[in-house]
């Protein structure tokens, strides 16, 4: 029906691997979408080894948060920011970027202008969290 909802996206929505607020975290960022009331919180440890999210939203948002947690794990703040920029670029332009790995599953969202915000919301929350690190 649409290559936006690829298997990996549906899978991460139904069974996210990094969901839930962890007992310990050093920084937290929030994102909210006024259009639909969707929300996401991103939890970071200072070492950046492990990311968690608490997503109340659509499949695109949840998959984006969960795949982000995979990709950003173990990265430095600078590297995470770079990743965020690369991701935003990819989902806005619709051009996959080899550096993004599984996250490229979300690039078709570029064809759905009003949904791009769903994909990038966790990343804006991440950037907010990074300000506290």
């Amino acid at each position: 029906m649409s290559d936006l909802y690829q298997q990996i996206v549906l899978d991460r929505t139904r069974h996210p691997r990094h969901a839930g607020r962890p007992a310990h975290f050093d920084a937290r960022g929030e994102g909210a979408n006024k259009l639909c009331g969707d929300k996401v919180s991103i939890y970071l440890t200072r070492e950046g080894m492990d990311l968690h999210h608490d997503a109340e939203g659509c499949a695109i948002l949840t998959a984006s948060a969960d795949l982000m947690a995979d990709a950003a794990a173990g990265k430095t703040p600078a590297q995470m920011r770079e990743l965020a920029a690369a991701f935003t670029q990819a989902v806005t332009s619709g051009t996959p970027n080899p550096a993004l790995g599984a996250l490229n599953a979300l690039t078709p969202v570029a064809d759905f202008p009003s949904r791009i915000g769903c994909a990038t919301l966790p990343w804006r929350a991440l950037e907010e969290a990074l300000q506290d690190v």
Binding site: M1, S2, L10, R14, C36, G37, D38, C58, I60
Partner: protein, 412 residues
Amino acid sequence: MSAILEKVNIEALREDFPILKEKVHGKDLVFLDSAASAQKPRAVIEAMTHVMTSQYANVHRGLHYMSERTSEAYEAVRDKVAGFINAAARDEIVFTRNATESINLVAYTWGRTALKPGDVVAVTEMEHHANLVPWQMLRDAHGTELRIIKITDSGEVDWHSLEDVFADGRVKLLAVTQMSNVLGTYTPVERLAKFAHAHGAKILIDGCQAIVHRKIDVRAVDADFFVFSGHKLYGPSGIGVLYAKADILDAMPPFMGGGDMIAHVSYQKSTWAKPPHRFEAGTPAIIETIGLGAAIDYVNAIGMEAIAAHEAALTGHALAVLPNIEGLRILGSAQDRGGVISFVMKDAHPHDIATLLDRQGIAVRAGHHCAEPLMGRLGVTSTARASFALYTTREEIGALAKGLERVRKMFA
């Protein structure tokens, strides 16, 4: 009306709406978002084109042919609107940009003069932001109080709550929708008006949704204020209506200052024109007003009763069919309800539903529908919403149901 005759009529009417022939993502457009804004029949488009190609000039201020013809056509719509909602007089019809402006106009002018600090404005839990935020702004600027009347789980006005809210006699305005843009509920406006009047309050009716689907009679209802937007009634954007009883309008100070709303201007003091002109500052939405007139002629020619009957049949069909989809839940179950159906699905977010339906050519809305507090009451953050118009067919509801089945399977 037999089912066959009805079918024929709808197919014929669909021919009047050029956009319905469009393809979306290679699929036939199934437009189920008319509650947000309706599509326009050729008669409206042609009326607007006609003004611009053959009889346009600014209104009211001109002594020449084009201006006189345009002024006549513009003012004729005032009569049309008055007739359409059965107002007592044409001067009770004020043209605005949209229903939102109509309500703000009332809040700024009547609200700041007829209401005193401590007076109460009451709204229900199912108001559109347009009928909530202006009263919040009035509260914060003018010291009035804002009270919320609860709705029942079925999505109807909770009469106990209404009585509670009115109990201390301080409510001076009941501002209430005639039809919820989320739940499809019709409110019993005649009873509510009687109740408000018996308690010394005026009633403002947000008729945005109701006027599209039902015959409106502001005098039978005894409405003090009634507002709607042209763009939902198959008319153009940029034009709305405020109806208010003549004595109320007469006592209201102007909203905006400028040309056409004055009787006399000097540096020291200006005096105001009589209603409705007092409230129509500057060059009005001339072309759009004339377009609205064509829209009213159009629905009148079909007949509001015929439209209502068609939509009632559709709504009944949809309410029978949609619940068969596993995990789908319709919000609201009012006795008296129209063709606006909000729903949620287990495991599928309304955004994803809307996007996936769109790929099949089916336009539904998803979000809080400008009724964020109502979402909280319903225990959701957003819903998907399908809404019907005079051009909606049974087949389109079938397409919706089929589309939703596909969505369900993806997320199952």
